[in-house]
Amino acid sequence: MAVETTDDRVRNTSFVFWSSSKYRTKFYEVLVLGLLFASLYWIINNVVTNLNRLGIRTGFGFLKQEAGFDIGQTLVTYNEASSYGSAVLVALLNTVLMSLLAIVFATIIGFVVGVSRLSSNWLLSRAATAYVEIFRNMPLLLQIFFWYFAVLRALPVPRQSIAFFDTIYINNRGIYAPSPVFEPGFGIVIAALVMALGVAIALRRWARVRQSRTGQPFPVLVTSLIIIIGLLLVSAAVAGFPLSWQVPALKGFNYTGGFSVIPELVAMVVALSIYHASFVAEIVRGGVLSVRRGQVEAARAMGLRPGQIMREVIVPQALRVIIPPLSNQYLNLAKSSALAAAIAYPDLMHVLGGAVLAQTGQPIEVMTIVMGTYLAISLLIALFMNWYNRRSSLVER
């Protein structure tokens, strides 16, 4: 402060550091992160010390121990003697199966209902509106209970099953259908199927190149279907129809043999699909409405047919608007699948939050696994949808 000139410079530099919003923001970021980690460390340290003092086990060693309980639906080999680790895997697969099926159905129903709402057919658009307003305005848990208790559990007992063609049986314990039994020689049919699919893909590519070169379209879909069905029939005939069906039969208290689906899965998939489809429908409707009217008019004025306008003009523009909120909806669906615990469908939430938690008495570890797994599922969905979004919105506006 003695010599004016140098003093000014010094004051200026320090002034620059604090006035630069870039440095200030960085400083606060580091400060907040530091405080966060310090408090996390403090909490975890405290918890572990306390648990050790109380003599409660910690760590994930229990995963290798025998679980000792059975699970009602297993996609991989599992029995009472399997480990807790296997139980986690079974539960995870059950969650994935339920979520995937529901995502597929919710998407299909949602697109149909969303487009129907825009239809000029009065009855159709009103029906679609009613669908959306009814199913998105009632609690999901209520809908799950409705499908499970009021519909599926209210079905007749196995002895009085509802039968279709004496091969498919429906009762309050589940749905029973014939399962295919592959006999020797079935490999030929599979080989034929692979070959037919290859031909179909090649045909599609050829037709695209040809249309680009000559302008002439080619009926790819119909031709492919004929080739696939034809090759399948011929190969099956050659191999002597190497496929038989194992039909479920009433044995004791229930049907055995064949293919069965437990009512808990059906209730969950139906409830999740129908509930989330009402949101998907709104997303789809918004996407289609976002395409300006003039776009369709310009396409019509150039002589494009309705199908071509849909494919070339509306869908590509609507998809860009649809995909981001649609990914959000898929994330919601996957997370809301945890409500399965309420009707004891053996998903992650039910198996880990129920039997595993009760038997191990290690809530922190068990909940960490559940949280980590849901997080991983969500991240996978987000990653896939981001990839798809990038792919469909590569082009600029």
């Binding site: 070169r213 302008g215 004025a301 150039m302």
Partner: protein
């Protein structure tokens, strides 16, 4: 009218149209000869857009006949398709497809509707982009162009279908003043080549120099119809005079 110029390209006879209860077109009669340039003007809401949109069936009329190049417009989809591929239309707000490049915008209809090989369609497209003086923008997206450039692309896109008739609906109204001229120049070029044109516009300079006939519409009716000189210098009807005063006063 100008029967000397050739056979009728468009014939509109006693046409009426309603939107619900609203009588939007009232007893319209208009014959457009091949190569004729018609300018349609009139106050907003008088039915100018509706009239030219009836010519390519973006709107359907309920009474009377519209015959385009010998094909009558009815509910017959084949005939509608045939007419649409002969009639080009350019809109006030361009309506280019934002997800396609300029070139793809131009190739789409010739390739899918005319079943033209892609390479050939691209060659024609580049040719028209040259004519509207923006061949260097072929691989850009519409959103990257100025309004005037977009409108020129839209004109080129219509021309790629080699139409016999071009409809223009206030194509310079959404443009900044400095871009109006570049679009009008393209339209003047088209007129010089003998294109049959129906132009809804308030650009009276364009009407004076390019039009064979000017039509004034009000409340769904054709009020007055004359060659430009007489139309501007000696309008017959009170309403036409009022309209011209308003439009020419600024």
């Amino acid at each position: 009218m100008n029967e000397a110029q050739g056979a009728a390209m468009i014939e509109i006879r006693d046409v009426h149209k309603w939107f619900g209860d609203f009588h939007v077109l009232k007893n319209i009669n208009l014959t457009v000869a091949k190569g004729e340039r018609i300018v349609i003007c009139g106050p907003s809401g008088s039915g100018k857009s509706t009239l030219i949109r009836c010519i390519n069936r973006l709107e359907a009329h309920q009474q009377g006949n519209i015959i385009v190049d010998g094909i009558e417009l009815t509910d017959n989809l084949k005939q509608i398709d045939a007419i649409r591929s002969e009639v080009g239309m350019v809109f006030q707000d361009f309506n280019l497809f934002p997800h396609l490049t300029v070139l793809e915008n131009l190739v789409l209809a010739p390739h899918l509707v005319r079943r033209m090989p892609r390479a050939e369609a691209e060659e024609i497209a580049m040719n028209y982009l040259g004519r509207v003086r923006i061949p260097d923008q072929a691989n850009k997206y519409p959103g990257q162009l100025s309004g005037g450039q977009q409108q020129r692309v839209a004109i080129a896109r219509s021309l790629c279908m080699s139409p016999k008739i071009m409809l223009f609906d206030e194509v310079t109204s959404a443009l900044d003043p400095e871009m109006v001229k570049e679009v009008l120049d393209v339209m003047i070029g088209l007129a010089d080549e003998g294109m049959t044109m129906l132009v809804v516009t308030h650009e009276m300079g364009f009407a004076r120099t390019v039009a064979n006939r000017v039509i004034f519409m009000d409340l769904g009716q054709i009020i007055e119809e004359n060659e430009p000189r007489a139309f501007f210098e000696a309008p017959q009807h009170e309403r036409t005079r009022n309209f011209l005063e308003q439009i020419l006063s600024h």
